[in-house]
Amino acid sequence: MPPPIQTADVDNDGFLKDLSCWNEAIACGIAQNDNIELTPSHFEIIYLLRTFYQAHQVAPANRPFVKMVQLALGKDKGNSIYLMTLFPQSPAKLAAKISGLPKPPNCF
């Protein structure tokens, strides 16, 4: 059963305004704006990214993002095709948005 969806207060680019209010339902709400329905596979990556961000206060760029997943979950998931399937087009950016990380200033 997919998690419930909660509409979040997001900015013009779809990023969460109040980072502290993030929860799974809000993540689903952000993802819905990009037509993504979140599954446990998504949340596995989302929590990994949130833990990484809490530790380092930096959202990784695409290649380091793949490497981070690879180190934590192995090559089956730590590859760009898998991550592209979950978070299409720009995985690191989209995953960061859904995970409630701050909007990077220069990726638009």
Binding site: D11, N12, P105, N106
Partner: protein, 129 residues
Amino acid sequence: MKFSLLVLASPYSQQGGLSALQFAKTCLDQGHQLYRVFFYHEGVQTASALQCPQRDEVNLHDQWKELADQHSIDLVTCIAAALKRGILDEGEAKRYEKDHFNLNKPFELSGLGQLLDAQINSDQLITFA
């Protein structure tokens, strides 16, 4: 020769911005190419069109603009460093839901990739702090 400049100095608080300007003019006088001027750290304040020094003082924004208009120089301001210091163009003002903006052409906001590009593609990148 192809030069680029990195301006870190805060305009009006430090001399670096004036030194950079004079260096740029001398470069061009000598027939060198000025590939890009990149504003970073406190240097991003140079890009604000709203600076109002006294009439008998140099207006750094206007001087760079004049030079860029004459010689079509790339004036790039680091977007991350600029946004947090309140230097926004019209697009960013909309994005961040602000009523005002203070950065116009020929200054532009862009990422640090532009500094890397300047470092790689110039013969010399000179830092003014």
